[in-house]
Symmetry: C2
Subunit: 335 residues, 2 copies
DNA sequence: TTGTACGCGTTATCAA
DNA sequence: TTGATAACGCGTACAA
């Protein structure tokens, strides 16, 4: 228990440096001594102590992931991609879930330090200038996913386009009164994507010569329950929409539930679109905008590891493709 | 960049040992030198290097979490609890997502080493004897969540009881033909809870003098889509059930979808129960068995940190309370 | 090609 | 109470 490099060196009858060279596959080592060392390593079941390596190499072989709300399926799916790619690259992943402003501040204060991690991946959280200043000062490699900042490398999708795709589809079906349900753009833990998707919806509808009245835009926290409330209110007003674009599949599920409770038929009486194309969307038969969630995590890691190993970051803003997936929650309006 | 304890010592005009004592809040240090050191620390914005600490202390201040299928909301919710509790305790959390047998083997081969982590939390994965032997040999503290092993400390709920609660509720409503939809008990990544819940259902139904025919037990992988298929098949046979107990809320959602597609009314024509009480259950109005998911993570961490700090593990099998949450997916059978 | 000695930054020991 | 010094385990110049 606690076999060290010295034990191996002693057993193999060589110096510690030689063992280290064998371990790190340096070229300049005689094949015979090399095999002697390998035998000793196998015999003692030796594995190098990662902490000692880290101290010596001044690298932690660890990446930190900061993400808000581990409760969101889309965020978790991105995290899955990050994890899979980091394992392949031989890095450990430490995870920080940020659900409050206090935690956010604490994490950004304590974490971005070279002695702690080799790099940082931030999911769905756009860093403040002050937070960034810390990171920049120590020159810590960072990649954002689904978040925005002019000067930072990031992996994103075109949320404005996504909003356009959904509403274009509905307009093409003949809908004229289209509503929107999205997230609160609260400052401290802002999710910008919802706002951008609304912008896309607005643009597309405006381009069609229509407008989207304030009564058809509902903003609330992310839970399906809240979304059900918002949809219910929207659907029971004087001039209800014939279609609703939602900023996430979760919220679309809430809207479907509201329609159901009101005895409305989807898509007969109401069309609904979601966003993300998580498993739930397939299951509910939801027309939705698909974006590569798992893959966004993989790409962010690939770029981050590249930066760590000295590759120039290349294009800062890497945009992933999105597409509309049409299922059975949308149809022409009945009227 | 890279302020060390020596820099602080020099500025404060003391030895490194003294700085270390101040940092670790040892008693035997003169208040005046203490404040001099603190000033120097503040002036240099010094933060101790965790890697060096780890090497010296022979502790990593890191806990590994192994869990299968980061895709399951219930597993993620447990992880949230683990993360929150570890942050409070000042530990880092590294996460290993296990979705294949190969990964499982690799993780259990490489991870359980004192030089890597101070402890291990395993969620919904019952370790093999061989895996355990490694862990036991190096005496690494481990706590299981939602998994079973005779000799390991664990945080579980009574899944058999859960199955009984759900079916007892249905029996009390007057149901006599009760079906079950659950997970495949595949050996390599076995989820035992589904099997145990079925056992509970069986016992309760037997106790009522009834039986559950093989045609009313459906087993498949965990996706809602698969569950929809299974439910559809079950509901379209000669003698369909009037109620279905599902091993998870996700699968219950699939069953609801099947009923919906078949034009059946829930709960009028069919009652459905879920398991876990995730957010989705509330949203779907699902009668379900609630178990404390977040809290299971918190408790596991509390126990693990206790073990690391030398507290005896106490009762090995800590059972968390479960309860039936009745919503609108269950009612007396129509016939 | 190989062994020795030093450095990584911290904690712990032991005199003073 | 305090400072010097030896671990902790590995990588790597440098010399042989």
């Amino acid at each position: 228990m606690g076999v060290t490099i010295s034990d191996v060196a002693r057993l193999a009858g060589v110096g510690r440096g030689t063992v280290s060279r064998v371990l790190n596959e340096r070229a300049n080592v005689d094949p015979r001594t090399r095999s002697r060392v390998l035998e000793a390593i196998a015999a003692l079941d030796f594995v190098p102590n990662p902490t000692a390596r880290r101290l010596s190499l001044r690298r932690t072989q660890t990446i930190a992931v900061i993400l808000p709300f581990l409760t969101r399926p889309s965020a978790v799916e991105r995290l899955r991609g990050v994890e899979a790619a980091l394992v392949r690259g031989g890095y450990d992943m430490i995870v920080f879930n940020v659900e409050t402003v206090e935690r956010r501040e604490a994490v950004f204060r304590d974490l971005p330090r070279r002695e702690r991690v080799d790099g940082l991946i931030i999911i769905s959280l756009s860093p403040h200038e002050t937070e960034l200043e810390r990171i920049g000062r120590i020159d810590l490699p960072v990649v954002l996913i689904d978040a925005h900042h002019r000067t930072l490398p990031r992996v994103v999708a075109d949320d404005v386009l996504g909003g356009r795709l959904a509403s274009r589809h509905l307009l093409a079906l003949g809908h004229r009164r289209i509503g929107f349900i999205g997230d609160i753009p609260r400052i401290p833990l802002a999710f910008t994507s919802s706002r951008l998707r609304l912008t896309g919806v607005r643009r597309e509808i405006t381009a069609a010569g229509l407008t989207i009245p304030a009564s058809l835009v509902a903003i609330g926290d992310h839970s399906p329950r809240r979304s059900t409330e918002l949809a219910t209110r929207m659907l029971t007003q004087r001039l209800p929409p014939t279609a609703i674009v939602c900023a996430s599949d979760t919220q679309a599920a809430g809207a479907l539930e509201a329609a159901n409770a009101l005895g409305m038929n989807v898509p007969g009486d109401l069309s609904v679109t979601g966003y993300d194309d998580i498993e739930l969307a397939d299951h509910l038969g939801l027309t939705t905008v698909r974006q590569p969630l798992f893959e966004s995590g993989v790409r962010a890691v690939e770029r981050l590891l590249g930066m760590i190993h000295g590759t120039p970051p290349g294009v800062l803003r890497e945009v992933q493709p999105i597409s509309l997936v049409v299922r059975r929650s949308t149809a022409p309006p009945s009227v």
